[in-house]
Assembly symmetry: C2
Homo-oligomer: 265 residues x 2
Amino acid sequence: MQRAAHGVLLEVAYDGTAFSGWAHQPTRRTVQDTLDGAIHTLDPNASPVRGTSRTDAGVHAEGQCVAFDASLPLSPRGWVLAVNQHLPDDVAVRSAREIDVEYNPRFKAKNKRYRYRILLDRVRDPLLRDRAWRIGWPLDIARMQEETKSIVGTHDFGAFRSAHDARTETVRTIAGANVELESERVAAFVIEGNAFLYNMVRILVGTLVDVGRGKLEPGAIDRALRSPLREEGRKLAGMTAPAHGLTLEKIDLDLPPTSGTPWPR
Amino acid sequence: MQRAAHGVLLEVAYDGTAFSGWAHQPTRRTVQDTLDGAIHTLDPNASPVRGTSRTDAGVHAEGQCVAFDASLPLSPRGWVLAVNQHLPDDVAVRSAREIDVEYNPRFKAKNKRYRYRILLDRVRDPLLRDRAWRIGWPLDIARMQEETKSIVGTHDFGAFRSAHDARTETVRTIAGANVELESERVAAFVIEGNAFLYNMVRILVGTLVDVGRGKLEPGAIDRALRSPLREEGRKLAGMTAPAHGLTLEKIDLDLPPTSGTPWPR
């Protein structure tokens, strides 16, 4: 058996609609298992893949970062073309580069950018059904933009996480947050930071939409962040927005100086 | 049996991916049959629907216009909500208005706007796989923009139609044509006119892409339009671009003064 002596780092994009999320599950279709299957077909000695962010079912990605160790000495271009030949239509390798063997991107993110799309429309739109959360009420976008200001900075986001999140350390630093209009009827909440709590982006979106429609008063996010009791803080925040509006857009990793140049960009 | 005495005009959107086009087919899934089925469930005495444009398999629509005659006296809002309840996720009524009974939109278009999206990328993108034609070569967008100028106006488009188009009258008037950049890596060919030949937009796109990649010399469209022999003209034009890049965006109909106000817009 050949040693898996070539570290490879991939950028991977997927349409999350038909996946039960990123992480391996024994009986469901996941992105991790799909990638492992494609790589194993090419290189039976390759290690399992190591992803950076565990996206939920329905969440999309343009720039998930994934490392593995290969025994085949393919070029970055070779990996992109070969793995894509073995992947289904709803997932693709977007670029590849050489990296140290056993590099694990899981806790190496310097920055992650998420985009959450909101469709402002009184009736549903089949062309955006899997990509944006439709809100049929009028939303005050300027008020939502103002509300995002209290997100930026270092805060205890304990009020903005799923009850399933067991992590005790809930302080996170958010480098940027904004609501922008992509078109007349599509708004996007864009947020950047190096780490997030489970469901944090989606609960922030649910709260912003409640502020935008007048169900919560402006300042709701700030009040939830400052709430001394976590259970109380979670009650001050809004619902968890549905998964299908969310896209993991880009991850900037802390890379060792030995890492190669990506192909194609 | 109640008379179908209420004319209704719908704007309909669909993701064309899983449809064998607009027009009824005995054994395939089409948009027309799907709409007829939903309306018939609500109103068994309603007439079959009459569409404006027969879009091909894989082609999307944001603003297909569809008329039918109902026996139920629903409001426009009532039709939008009720029909959408009976339609699958990939098709939806976007608006409704009252119109004369037996109104047929088929030859009533004052203007139709199509958008053809081109993804400029060396590797495939799962999130755009059903919405844009991916071109892996560099394209000279400025050259393509220049080339669109010869499309605008009244010309014999005999060179830009499918061999399956049996119409003898091939002169059409194009009100506008342009190539625009939607983002760094998505270009769109937008064309407007009151009538088009079969596959005309897709053959124009195939020709523009050949000019953009340098396979055809600038002026190719003008030369094909001026070619006196049709067979020769078709040879001067490019391939038919694939269906999935094309969206029927908007139709402006010549409406009788008796028609009502649309809901919701």
